[in-house]
């Protein structure tokens, strides 16, 4: 018992300190009552095959094994190459029973378990490994190798381990009894189950992201959604590969475990470099916003694509560890340039709010990666820790999630911006439309105004024309009126005269002086007839005028009992039948001369002369002369108020004007009082000048 306790203490000590234990050739145990676990590091001899020179079983058995405890490690270790390892173990059963224990060295790619027979030949007892077992095999049961040693005998075992991955899982040979082995497995199982839950949750979220991206892309065909979806898909594949129901069971891809190699590193490169920059390019619209950065991103994308192809090539050549190395260098090599890119982008963030989402997402992921790397440097050492850059640690998972969320939020924000832009554009469009409408309205108004102006112009012209026509009409009307007036005046032979004549005829009749009455009546009839006749004509011949005046004066002479004499003289040169004078022009002047010519108390007999003369220039002169009191004195004598003035003179003053207006002639009338010329004389001279047409 003491020894067992010692051994236990020893194991605990050795596992915790990695102390250099003295090598012992053979493990000596009572297999009937074994300790729960035995650290085998000091009992195991090892042989490492050279790279690219794998050893056969015979070769390995014939080689010399050395004792090298440095081979073993409890955590992952990056060997930087394929690890082809042979382990040899001698076990002696000091117990009384044949017994069996379980050897567990960790999870490795290829494992072959040999037992040496008595003749020194090895037989393969079992083989297993992450890459060796095909689908449908419960690998989990096969990583513990049975160590059967009959009682009191010594047996030799050979374990061949090949790790092709860049990361070698924990390599720690421990011998468990059945109970302890079960306990150990349970611990492992619960750990993996916890991890699986995390990965499942992560996968669920990533699937949600993927569907969001896909749905968004369908709604709004924006290429950044596609890149984002590809990125998420890569991540899903990456993590789905890690989803293990039992440790290293590779439950999802166990049908083809090679995917672990084919996908792991390329997936990281694909997700975090290729798709990342492509997404950034499309998402930030760098082509327009930041062309230089766009070039950088394109170059990075192209080179990442190249690297991915190289990785695939390496994998195809079964150089599985090379992609890991490449990835480490790529990661570390791009750390500083990426930071520079971030800074460059950050400076643009003020004008480009999307940059913030991109930056925060990227930073989250890279810091998470760096964090997990830095956290592992101390326990693993620098080189081994590099593996943690790609290992799905909790921190990195959080980083990945944060990044995806930031990107998704960025995309949503981008959508919002696009929506805003669209709204703005719509508003601008509406504004423009309104403006157009306004413009159209203004144009219409202007047009209307123009039309109005033109209409008013037309109306004005029309009115002008109308006015002109009116004026024309007025003129014509005036002319007609003048003519009518003239006719009226012509017809206006003094009614006083007419009724006085009738009175005289009445008297002769009553006095039975029929001859006189007859003469008076016929003369009067002639005069009235001529007056009516002349009133219809504008011009009459001088002969007619003279006859008319003769008749008139004859009647007047009869009225005034021969108290007047008259004389009508015509120059013999005048062709009286051809000359024409305005009808009834002279009569009122003659009547006036009769009326006032007889009022001169100094002259018992009124003397009236009418003289027609032809002046030079086709001018007919008519002079009516009386020996009355003269126009001035007769005017003085007239005590009548002005409004009762007799029509004769009024007519005479108007007549010439009217005639001149009517016939456009220059009839001139001059009334002279004789006493003005010579005060010894008395009387009036009326001089009428009639131009011959």
């Amino acid at each position: 018992m003491n020894r067992i306790c010692f051994l236990l203490l020893y194991v605990c000590y050795s596992t915790s300190t990695f102390a250099q234990l003295p090598a012992e050739d053979t493990l000596t145990l009572d297999l009937g009552a074994p300790p729960p676990s035995v650290d085998l590091r000091s009992y195991i001899y090892s042989l490492e095959a050279q790279e690219d020179q794998p050893l056969s079983l015979q070769q390995a058995a014939s080689r010399r094994f050395t004792h090298d405890p440095q081979l073993f490690h409890t955590d992952k270790r990056n060997n930087g190459r394929d690890h082809d390892l042979w382990l040899k173990l001698h076990v002696r059963n000091t117990g009384l029973k044949d017994s069996s224990l379980t050897l567990f060295t960790g999870w490795h790619d290829y494992m072959y378990w040999y037992a040496a027979a008595a003749d020194g030949t090895y037989t393969l007892l079992s083989q297993t490994g992450l890459m060796l077992d095909k689908g449908g095999v419960e690998r989990w049961e096969r990583y513990g190798f049975p160590v059967r040693v009959p009682a009191g005998q010594t047996r030799t075992f050979l374990l061949h381990i090949v790790n092709k991955s860049y990361d070698e899982n924990a390599l720690m040979p421990v011998l468990y009894n059945a109970l302890q082995y079960e306990r150990f497995r349970n611990e492992q199982l619960s750990t993996y189950r916890g991890e699986a839950v995390v990965i499942q949750v992560l996968l669920g979220m990533l699937l949600v992201f993927l569907s969001i991206a896909v749905i968004n892309y369908i709604q709004l065909p924006d290429r950044s959604y596609l890149y984002f979806a590809a990125y998420i898909l890569g991540l899903i594949l990456f993590f789905a590969l890690r989803l293990e129901s039992k440790p290293y069971q590779l439950s999802v891809f166990h049908h083809w475990p090679m995917l672990k190699y084919y996908w792991d590193i390329p997936a990281l490169l694909f997700c975090f470099y290729l798709m990342y920059v492509l997404f950034g390019n499309a998402f930030l619209n760098l082509r327009e916003r930041y062309p230089y950065m766009e070039q950088v991103f394109s170059i990075v994308a192209a080179s990442t694509g190249g690297i991915i192809i190289i990785c695939f090539y390496c994998i195809a050549r079964e150089r599985y560890h090379l992609p890991g190395i490449i990835y480490s260098y790529v990661y570390l090599g791009t750390l500083l340039p990426l930071l520079m890119v971030f800074v460059a982008l950050a400076r643009r963030s003020r004008h480009h709010p999307l940059v913030r989402f991109f930056l925060f997402g990227s930073l989250c992921f890279y810091l998470a990666c760096l964090g997990s790397f830095l956290m592992q440097i101390r326990p693993l050492g620098l080189i081994s820790a590099l593996g943690e850059l790609s290992a799905p640690s909790m921190l990195m998972i959080a980083g990945v999630l944060l990044q995806a969320m930031f990107f998704l939020a960025g995309l949503s924000y981008r959508n919002k911006l696009a929506h805003l832009e669209r709204t703005k554009t719509q508003e601008m469009l509406i504004k423009q439309l309104n403006k157009n409408k306004e413009l159209q309205r203004k144009l219409n108004e202007q047009l209307e105004e123009l039309v109005k102006e033109q209409t008013s112009e037309i109306l004005r012209r029309k009115q002008e024309l109308e006015e002109q026509r009116q004026i024309q009409l007025d003129i014509e009307y005036d002319k007609k009126l003048t003519e009518i007036e003239l006719k009226a005046i012509r017809a206006q032979i003094n009614p006083h005269f007419i009724f006085n004549c009738l009175n005289s005829i009445q008297l002769f009749v009553m006095q039975r002086d029929y001859e006189y009455a007859q003469k008076y009546l016929s003369d009067f009839s002639y005069l009235i007839r001529k007056t009516l006749d002349f009133s219809r004509r504008n011009f009459i011949s001088l002969t007619d005028e003279i006859t008319y005046l003769n008749t008139y004066l004859g009647l007047e002479k009869m009225r005034f009992e021969n108290k007047m004499e008259y004389d009508i003289r015509v120059d013999p040169t005048i062709n009286t039948t051809e000359l024409e004078v305005p009808a009834m022009l002279l009569q009122p002047y003659v009547e006036n001369a009769v009326k006032y010519g007889m009022t001169n108390p100094d002259q018992p007999i009124g003397r009236l002369t009418i003289h027609f003369r032809q002046l030079a220039g086709d001018m007919l002169e008519c002079v009516i002369e009386d020996n009355g009191i003269g126009i001035n004195r007769s005017k003085e004598l007239r005590t009548l108020p002005k409004h009762h003035q007799s029509s004769g003179m009024e007519i005479s003053s108007n007549r010439a004007e009217l005639l001149n207006k009517m016939y456009n002639t220059g009839i001139h009338i001059e009334i002279i009082d004789k006493s003005v010329r010579n005060f010894t004389e008395s009387g009036t001279i009326v001089r009428i000048l009639i131009p011959q047409l």
Binding site: H496, F497, N503, I505, Q506, L507, K595, S646
Partner: protein
């Protein structure tokens, strides 16, 4: 016998008046004749006649001049003229007799009869003052109008004071703007003819209104309202005519 003088510038006229008077009105004694105004005035002053036949237009003046010159001598005048138009209103408004040449027997007899009655009744000579007033004022809007009233009474009104006149069988009622109503012993037609040129308007068969006294012409009914508040009927045709008259 009524002593009369004839004043006319034409001998023919004088002769025929004398001839006709001698023939039809033997009660009229022609004392003298005159051929112009000045002669006439002196003859009137000399003979102090009861009746003067007066020509309107003479070489040295008018019959009015003769009246003017003989205001202190009371006589009745009958105007004899060939053409009355110029002085028609002055004469007719003052109810002075007028005979138109050529003289017909009826109008001569009528005039002489009227004048004889006046002489017999020693009627007021106020009419001649009215005549001269009207004459001297010339072309005016307001004329003096002498209205013969019942019982030989007379009154003088201004035409502007007449609101409207109305036919009352053979009389004519004058509604004055002071509310007085005068009944003239002449028919409506006589005054209608006289007053039409003085902006009077006959609104219906029996009524004539002075335009300046119309307050309102109802648009919707056939009435006109006067300034005094009186309402007169008006026929539709005359209303239109009246309105157009106003618009002129």
């Amino acid at each position: 016998m009524i002593k009369a003088i004839i004043i006319d510038d034409e001998r023919n006229s004088r002769d025929i008046i004398a001839l006709m008077l001698g023939k039809y009105c033997p009660q009229v004694d022609i004392a003298d004749t005159a051929s112009d105004c000045a002669d006439g005035i002196s003859k009137i002053k000399l003979h102090q006649p009861q009746l003067v036949f007066l020509d309107l237009e003479m070489p040295d003046g008018t019959g009015f001049d003769v009246l003017q010159g003989t205001q202190e001598t009371p006589f009745e005048a009958v105007f004899v003229t060939a053409f009355e138009k110029k002085f028609l209103h002055a004469i007719r408004f003052s109810e002075v007799e007028i005979i138109l040449k050529p003289i017909d027997k009826e109008s001569l007899l009528q005039a002489v009869q009227t004048v004889t009655r006046r002489i017999e009744q020693q009627a007021s000579k106020h009419r001649y003052r009215v005549l001269l007033d009207n004459f001297n004022h010339g072309k005016q809007t307001s004329w003096n109008l002498l209205l013969p009233l019942a019982g030989g009474q007379e009154t003088t009104i201004h035409t502007t004071a007449i609101e409207y006149l109305e036919s009352c069988t053979d009389k004519c009622a004058f509604y004055m703007d002071n509310g007085m109503v005068l009944y003239a012993e002449r028919n409506f037609r006589h005054y209608a003819d006289l007053l039409i040129p003085l902006r009077f308007y006959q609104v219906n068969n029996t009524q004539m209104v002075q335009l300046s006294h119309i307050h309102r012409v109802a648009q919707d009914s056939q009435h006109i309202q006067l300034n005094s508040g009186a309402q007169l009927e008006i026929t539709e045709r005359r209303k239109k005519d009246l309105l157009s008259f106003y618009n002129r």
